[in-house]
Amino acid sequence: MAKYPHLFIASGAYHQYAQQRGATMVPDAVLDAGEAGCGELTLLIFQAVRRLAPGQTLEVHAYDLAAAVDIPAWCRSTGNMLVRAATGAHPQRFVIRKRLAIGAHTSAQAAD
């Protein structure tokens, strides 16, 4: 677990490397939110998503006890799509797809 939150933005070369190694779902960025929780967690997600282009994906690693409640709530509130939620993992892992345009509210969730 990162002591401080860390954001990794994947490059095109990274995507190519990951796909060559058989990865089926390569996020455009990975946010290790560390111990951030409550409003701090979703602010980090907001800031990370803001750096992405519409349609790109962010994978979030979170240790917060309410991440499984707060991250879906944030997605519903903002219209970003939660495409994956592994809440039994440690850390919990979520994949969020940035909304296509402001006002284009969509939501879908596949939990595993």
Binding site: G39, L41, D64, V69, D70, I71, A73, S77
Partner: protein, 119 residues
């Protein structure tokens, strides 16, 4: 169904405010509203077994009874995780009706039109 969010920051440090928050919450339950009490700051201690038993204030039922009535009638307690962890409390030992939820869940509820009161 109308929604009511009560933001509570006190516990044994202020029995009056803590008790009245639950009295008003139960009024919301009686009015057939969806009621959530967001426990944060010192109030997170109320989500641990037995803690509320020591809280009582003149003119009202003991908090233990108010809390039991709230939960038995469908009230929800949302517990702020950072406030809870910062106090070294046991995350695996919450009372019935309590669960972890943070700022995003609170903001979503308010966005859905919930009225709110703060104690």
């Amino acid at each position: 169904m109308p929604k009511l969010l009560i933001n509570l920051t006190t516990a044994q440090d202020n029995p009056d405010k803590t008790t009245v928050a639950f009295v008003v919450a139960n009024a919301g339950i009686a009015a057939e509203q969806e009621v959530v009490i967001f426990l944060n700051v010192e109030a997170v201690r109320l989500a641990t077994p037995g803690y509320a038993d020591a809280i009582a204030t003149a003119g009202f039922k003991p908090l233990k009874e108010l809390l039991a009535a709230f939960i038995e009638n469908g009230g929800k307690l949302w517990v702020c995780p950072p406030c809870f962890t910062a106090r070294g409390l046991d995350k695996d030992n919450l009372i019935a009706g309590a669960s972890f939820a943070g700022g995003a869940a609170v903001v979503e509820l308010l966005g859905q039109g919930a009225a709110s009161l703060s104690y």
